[in-house]
Amino acid sequence: MLAKNKLRIALIGNPNSGKTTLFNALTGSNQHVGNWPGVTVEKKSGIMKHKDYELEIIDLPGIYSLNAQSLDEKIARNFIVNEQPDLILNIVDAGNMERNLYLTMQLLQYRKPVLIALNMIDLLEKMDMIVDYPKMETMLNCPIMPISATKKEGLEELKNKLISVDSFQEYISTAKVAYDEVIFASIDRIENFLEAEAGEDINQYLYTKQVDSCQIDDPCIYYGTIDKHYFFLRLLEQDELIIKNINYDFMNFVNREREKISKHTRMQTELLIAEGIYGYVRGLCKDVIQRKTSSRKKNSDSLDQVFLNQIFGLPVFVLIMYLVFSLSMTFSEPFIGFIEIFFEGLLVDGTRNLLTMMHFPEFLKIIIADGLGGGLMTVLSFVPPIFLIFLCLSILEDSGYMARAAFVMDKVMRYLGLSGKAVIPMIVGFGCTVPAIMATRTLDSKRDRVMTILLVPFIQCGAKIPVYTMFAMVFFRQYAGLAIFLIYLLGIFFAFISAILFKKLLFIGHTSEFVMELPSYHLPTWNGIMTHTWFKLKSFVLRAGQTILIVMIFMALLNSLPLYHNAKDNITETPLTLSGKVLTPLFKPMGIEKDNWHATLALFTGFFAKEAIIGTFEGLNLSENFDTHAEEEEEFSIADSFIEAISEFKEGIIGAFHKFFNPFKLEEIEQEEEELNTHYLKHKFKSVHQVIAYLLFIMIYAPCMASIVAARTEAGSRLALFQVVYLTVLAWIVGTFYYQFSQLKDGISWMMLLPIVLSFGLLAFIKFYAKDENNIMDRG
């Protein structure tokens, strides 16, 4: 029987072969699945429980071969080499056997336990393919389990197979690849040389470093840790994990062997070895696959005629991105309206009435009804736009269009000094900046990675939507959707400007060459999309909701803590009023007046998480109501407010359709005007220009803490610091410039000079940073 202690199984396979789908199915997790290569960029582990057994399953980024290039590929390869999992569960895409088996053959030659899960067998029928599994098993000398991870076919059998052996050692294959004769001859000579030179302790001779000093961040393969023959073969291929720290004389001998091989075959040694594997795999595929039609890609190819069209490709991309936003913004408005009316009735007025009936004191009513109730309502009101954005992004991610975007946008991206592949992290950034920064791992050069990390914060993330929605609903009600869309566009515009600056000043040189797979399109399934969206939404709303409520209550309480009484202005100063007032002059050139210190504080809390901006405004407003509140209780009935909300919603939906098809036509909205005029934000921001300057600042300034940490992990502290300073200063320049420009009719102010002077300062700062950074680029 298999040992019952936690055995570790690593999922290894080509990108986009369904590893994460299988991982989710086996462990009940909800890791991100998408139809493009490079979705998973880090190691994730989960527990599979089956019968009495608990096995640890590890999901890894996809690799095409053991010669990893990008960071994500290295994570997977290093895991196999260093962590020595008990079993490698190799996922093979049945529809793309030849390329997938190339990796399999590399894995089998390690002589470690491997089990093959032949995934996507549901597609075999469509492709008119029949696979002779028993024959394949015999030829590879390795167990094969046909499965379909999405359809959950063959999973029980796979689980049973996993626990049915006494030891995974039974799954060590003995399959041999027939390489060119010269390779075998070379290996023999190397082996003889080593035996003659090294004596007893081969590793002592080969390496200057201690054998047991292998670390996950410094992986290496020593003699004796993998199959001897394969060790020599990888040595001939110059596997970086083997030749690191290796004996100089010995390596010279190996290099001479490599030269001999190249001379003899007129081919680089590593290519000759790869050719050997492909020769074997092709023979195998011919033997085990019967096929009638030649290609499964007919539909995909015809779709690509449109999506990758030389003329229409780019406009189609712009149209798709426009649709994502206009759908999300326009159609979320009626839902927000419904939530505002119904839940305001239920959570605020309803709770207040209930508390009045129970004779609660006024301040508790404010805390519970206006504070908690109002806070919950705020949280609920940003669910619709975020849900719709996540939904659209999920559809994009699952359809297979993401990889096409890389091709279509390549020309534009190259103009900015990046490769087309960098578009993918940017699209991911519309959801959240943190995964977007992590997604840069798939880019091939450090230059591209760092530059993309710097640009991703310009893409407005989901957490900023609540902020924009709140301001847009109060100040630009008629055209809120359009206003938010403009903010998104402006963000991209400043990304362009910054990219060009960086290209000229920071990252001199060329972007890397790239090779990328285009997956087949597939129609996203309702179930898949909904689960995907639901889990993203749930974790986002829980996190953001918590932040908003906590910040709100914290701010309200902190602001009720009197420090001393200012007799001159007859107000009580609290720690918040004081710090707000000290900092506000910094933002005066941007139009933030002294009494609008709420706005300043919100910017500071927004530094921790963008949604905290809302929490701050609401919390401070709440605390100010503590003294003034004596609102009349409104008559309240759930039924009335529901009916009102529904009728509002109906009109809203019709309006949304009108708006969607006539985005530039403004509608008249008379009702609610009065209510909006009394909104507390209107007392803080005296003019629309102040609001716009403020939103411009929020659009650009330092990303949230989580994403700064992510940037630090991916690219180092210096870059993270550079990013924070650059973005914040740029935000200040843009905000101030806009505000001062808008005030020109009242005459030129000396403050107009500030952004201009600071712009030169910013350029000097980039130049200064570039001095050291170019060294870092070289090392990358």
Binding site: Y64, S65, N67, Q69, G95, N96, E98, R99, Y102, M127, M267, Q268, E270, L271, A274, E275, Y278, S295, R296, K297, S300, D301, D304, L308, Q310, A403, A406, F407, D410, K411, R414, S419, G420, E513, F514, V515, M516, E517, L518
Partner: protein
Amino acid sequence: MWFKNRGRKPCGACPRRRPLDNSLESAFEDEQYKIINNPHRKSFELGLFNGNVIKVIRNNCNQRNIIIGVADSRYIISKDIARHIKVEMVS
């Protein structure tokens, strides 16, 4: 100056202008080619190994990448790489 280099840009990429070059970069769209010599390891390992037959799906003069089909896979390959891959048309 920006206009200095205008018109001087080599369009080796354009199959109509340099049909005799036997690199993948100047291969024609919708034609099948056999790989004669591919020195680029990553694309080699993806299936562009010597002797394999591929199909050129997209190759435009004004794009920096080409799209090729290898068995059931489609790849975007930048012309910087394609330039070094030698191919031969399959009739």
